[in-house]
Symmetry: C2
Subunit: 334 residues, 2 copies
DNA sequence: TTGTACGCGTTATCAA
DNA sequence: TTGATAACGCGTACAA
């Protein structure tokens, strides 16, 4: 034994037991408030815990009880506030139940997702939460073999592996088209970001086109940026679009970041919104409620999705698809 | 043994060993590429792993090797993109080294932080990262006793427990005041959010006041909202401020969310920026670069802070305070 | 109500 | 290059 070893002085359960003059299992029972013990013993144990500054080792606990209180969460990105909201909802609910979240960022890459799922599964989580319903075959196989709860978030357009909590992006896109058509717009375009990776954005777009068709319209033009969504891309995207198709009278942006960019472009160029150009985005970010004209958007219950997902897991609910819906928020730009 | 037990069929190391016709330690060595073994054995082991779909149990591994590859991260909030950026920086670096991040959200509450630190320490992380340098005495005690690396992020104004990576918020506030004064502003006010909880915001404010004093000025007025920062609060804050003090010619907002709200208020009310009112925020969010007039702000290297913090930990660097600085970004609003 | 002893799935030590 | 075997720290029957 090396006396310089930093971990040499870590207190263990048996140290506490010795200090309190009781058996190890007694300490274990007191600490987890499980089984029976006298009040007197409890006091002695707690005193020893306090005195020694004992911190239980959950690693050992998890091994012994075969089953961890860990929940693995994978999100495509953190630069989009939407996923941060999702995480908030999940962790807020989990924390109150002694559960711990371990997470990773996939960068919208299904291969990376697969690698990360493998890494996270090694921690034997009680549940794995991931965004969307598109996964590699390897991911699906591992997940199914893992024997833990699998919760897909934010999307319900597809076949759920176990539990899915979200809403239909196809329906959201379709509804958006209907609103634009109802508002009398006839020359409608789309400004979006990299859809190869953002499959939910792609679903909205396909729903949008379907919605236009149902209204007897076709997409007037589209500008798809080869980059992640951002305010800057939205701005540049609208600029490019209008240069090509100046007669456009409405634009659907792939999300609010993009829409904000478009809106700023209009402000800067003096383009009348919504008279000359209607704008609608997606997500209903707080900021869009406070621009000079509130930007029309689609409100998505992302925090609630996280919470409900965590609750379903905690309550050991049966496999299911939970549609939490969305709602169109009309603002001054439509 | 219950044959309905879901975890009954999980493959273990010894299953692989048996299938490959080798000893357990051999499998372990091959999998970790540690120690020596013949190419032939390696192939046999890997084949068995593949065939059985074996996923190593890191829980058991961590227990056996006393020392986990876990890094605990605590952030005050996730609704502010700044902390999401921080997380991105940290996890991106960690992932490439087989490390796993476990995280929790403190809601800017030091008591909650203490409880969460206790919970996270139970996982015996190799490092604990937390935002800021203000912690409860209990938190500090536990951390010191834990014998793991302690990394404080985003702030360097204070006494570091071990490693600190960030910049000086006091200096940032002071510099902001100097810029405003240099720009000829004389009636300068502050619009902020809940500073009891956001201690870094409070440091910026104190630095700002010091900076004004150095320029021979005093704060003309201040509007501090009793709520977390948001675009809405920034807007309402500026409205309240201007009603009270219409002669103000410059406003320092506690951060860019607040500043955006103020800027939108000006746009909506037709207040000339910067002619009549100069605006400067903090963080230099992407969106502020794309508003009709780019909003002046202070660029903070948050992703880099996360990366460097992770790198210092990975390289087993000595205790230190790393100042990554900040830079003032002048925009159209100053 | 309490303590003993075994097992959880690895890693590490050491001898072969 | 290999394979027993002893930890790792705790939960959990089971016995007391």
């Amino acid at each position: 034994m090396n006396f310089m070893d930093q971990k040499t002085n870590l207190i263990t359960l048996s140290d506490v037991a010795a200090a309190a003059g009781v058996g190890e299992s007694t300490v274990s029972r007191v600490l987890r408030n499980h089984g029976s013990f006298s009040e007197k013993t409890r006091a002695r144990v707690m005193a020893a815990v306090e005195r020694l500054g004992y911190v239980p080792n959950r690693i050992a606990g998890a091994l012994a009880s075969t089953g961890t209180p860990l929940v693995a969460i994978l999100v495509p990105s953190l630069s989009n506030i939407v996923f941060a909201d999702l995480l908030s909802g999940v962790t807020r609910t989990l924390e109150n139940h002694g559960r711990q979240a371990v997470f990773a960022v996939t960068d919208y890459d299904l291969d990376k997702e697969e690698a990360l799922v493998a890494a996270l599964l090694a921690w034997r989580p009680a549940a794995v939460m991931l965004v969307g319903m598109e996964h590699s075959e390897g991911t699906r196989r591992m997940l199914r073999a893992a024997g833990c709860r699998i919760i897909e978030l934010l999307d319900i357009d597809g076949d759920a592996l176990d539990i899915a909590v979200g809403f239909s992006h196809v329906a959201a896109g379709r509804e958006t088209a209907a609103r634009l058509a109802d508002a009398g717009r006839r020359s409608i375009a789309y400004v979006g970001h990299d859809l190869k990776r953002d499959t939910r954005g792609a679903k909205r777009f396909s729903g949008f086109c379907a919605g236009l068709a149902e209204a007897g319209l076709t997409l007037a033009d589209r500008e798809v940026r080869d980059a992640p969504s951002s305010v800057g891309e939205g701005k540049a995207g609208l600029a490019a679009l209008l240069e090509r198709s100046p007669a456009i009278d409405a634009v659907y942006f792939s999300n609010d970041d993009m829409a904000l960019g478009g809106y700023f472009y209009c402000l800067a160029k003096g383009i009348a919104v919504p008279d000359r150009l209607a704008i609608i985005g997606f997500n209903a970010l707080e900021i869009c409620r406070h621009t000079p004209q509130p930007i029309a958007s689609v409100l998505t219950p992302r925090i609630e999705i996280g919470q409900r997902a965590a609750e379903l897991f905690l309550s050991d609910a049966p496999s299911q698809v939970l549609d939490l819906g969305f709602s169109v928020v009309t603002g001054g730009t439509l």
